[in-house]
Symmetry: C2
Subunit: 355 residues, 2 copies
């Protein structure tokens, strides 16, 4: 990464909350570190990034984000190795994607120097919050919100770019079974499904709550037109192992271009696994399941890295996947974690050290 | 409306900003009155509605609304007649719709007594802000936002319901020409298009900015599957007058059930105008335009009541509508305004007095 000179203004917290945190008992995304990064957009440009003590914002209730959902975000993690070095995983991908999301939401793109220098200063300041140990990490949440006060339905002239840091434990995500969506949809062609737009997520809560009540943890979204094709799981991209072949849906304007997804595709190709990036029908999944050919389904995403899916439901039928010895999901997860924690060779150049 | 006893806690502003406002020069949605209504949801129930001085909120940057767009809103107006009486227009429709929107966004429904008593107390307190005179009004913005701090992508356990009041002038919305969308989409089948969900609006800003740069003020959205059928304009429902027949798209899970739209349908039927509520193809519009049969297009919505559309663009072609003497748009607007301002008989029972 080139070093781009951007001044970052730092105001340190007067005391640290670190000693009060029980790191053996963390709820995901609930505890935040001592500092956060804030950068305002006004008068047509992004101002100096600042690092300030974590705390509440003062915002007018007429701020556009509250009314029109003009907001995007990213999810990243920082890892600490055995020598206390701090690493990021492909951060330039998150930087590029937040600007891609911003563009679709009519939010001004954020400068690269602001992003990297702000993020690195923040991590250096709150480094003690990153726990060592395989699986422990610091979840990073860059996001942008429209802050202009005023309820006319048009593009905001003011924004806030922020980064929050939340220590995260290695966690067992529980047994995950998914429901294949038959009625509800996540995204339209020509819509904002490819973006990490805030509204994409809130729109999934109601159908997901229904699926939860039926015993499923997540939803596999299908295309809105026909509900015949498998897309993504809302917080994860999906992989299907049919025989020894790995199939995943192509990215489109409805499907998020996941960083973990593309890394898994690279790892699979590198291992000479046959990867097919193509649309996949629900019917093909069912057929493969019935023929005993469907060996694995797994989700990929920053939070859980790889999530094995034990079964799925479709039109009232429940399908259970076989237990498998030689699991692709487990292998990809191990490989990714070892790269992320500086325990293996980084042949793709994915690691990025925070110095 | 039945009177439902709900206590409203009132904290008055120490002074009024009223004298500092230039009512002859208002920008829509920029000036707010002295007070606002706030009601918190926590521990599983809506608390006592409060009226407090208008001012900034303190919110954690991890509040779910910033990250997942779990937010809905409404648009209403209050009108003052020549005898200083204050009126609302079909407010129960807005009350029912915000709860319909909330349900789809997994937000707990708001109690009717809280809504009406809070709104009426607020209007009584800021009554002086409503200017008399045809076209002047007080724009009301009820909305709900998810306030629970925490960045896990799941339904919030805390919310804020608020009502803001903004004085609005009678305004000439300028010459409006619209672009028929060929690529971008507003909503998917099975999505949240029927709801006044915050994210639906932010997602339209970028395509609308492009249309603006091409000389169009708004976009006519078409269905995401085929882009062949006309839907709505994002902040307006649409009516097409072909010959003397009035055509409007049926509401669906992609199209907002507009209060002004349904009122116009009732007025049209009452005037023995032939109203067809059916899907309408772009091709039919073009054909009617070319045959000289397309006499009017107009949008309906709370902010502008009825907006005549002077022309539209489709696949690079520009179509201008004829000037018309006996305009349906003008007639419906006059009738609605007269009912809203207590200047005409209210045969449908749409007016609601704030006492």
């Amino acid at each position: 990464m080139e070093n781009i000179a951007t001044k970052v203004k730092i105001t340190k917290a007067s005391s640290s909350k670190l000693s009060s945190v029980d790191f053996s008992n963390l709820t995901f995304g609930k505890v935040f570190t001592d500092h956060m990064m804030v950068c305002d957009y006004k008068d047509g440009s992004w101002q100096t990034p600042e690092i300030v003590p974590y705390g509440p914002l003062q915002m007018y209730p007429s701020a556009k984000v509250f009314h029109y959902g003009q907001a995007v975000f990213e999810g990243m993690k920082a890892y600490k190795d055995d020598e206390d070095k701090v690493w990021l995983f492909r951060p330039e991908q998150n930087f590029e994607r937040i600007n891609k999301s911003s563009k679709r939401l009519a939010i001004p793109e954020f400068p690269k120097g602001h992003f990297f220098n702000g993020l690195e200063e923040l991590l250096k300041l709150d480094k003690e919050w990153i726990q060592k140990g395989f699986g422990n990490s610091m979840y990073l949440r860059p996001f942008v919100i429209a802050t202009e006060p005023g309820v006319s339905a048009s593009t905001s002239s003011e924004y806030k770019f922020m980064i929050l840091c939340s220590p995260a434990q290695s966690y067992y995500s529980g047994e995950v079974r998914v429901k294949v969506s038959e009625d509800y949809s996540r995204a339209a062609d020509g819509g904002v499904g490819f973006a990490k737009a805030a509204g994409n997520y809130g729109a999934q809560f109601f159908p997901t709550d229904i699926a939860n009540s039926e015993g499923y943890q997540q939803i596999i979204w299908t295309d809105a037109n026909t509900h015949e094709y498998l897309e993504e799981a809302g917080t994860m991209n999906l992989f299907f192992r049919i025989g020894d072949k790995l199939v995943t849906a192509p990215i489109s304007d409805r499907i998020l271009d996941g960083v973990t997804r593309k890394s898994i595709i690279d790892l699979a190709k590198d291992a000479n696994i046959d990867v097919e990036i193509r649309r996949i029908k629900v019917a093909e999944l069912i057929e493969a399941a019935n023929a005993g050919e469907l060996k694995e389904i797994f989700g990929s995403g920053t939070a859980t890295v790889v999530t094995p899916i034990l079964g799925f439901g479709y039109k009232g039928e429940k399908y259970e996947l076989p237990k498998i010895e030689d699991s692709y999901a487990k292998s990809f997860k191990d490989q990714l974690l070892k790269i992320q924690y500086n325990q293996a060779e980084d042949k793709f150049g994915w690691r990025y050290e925070v110095k």
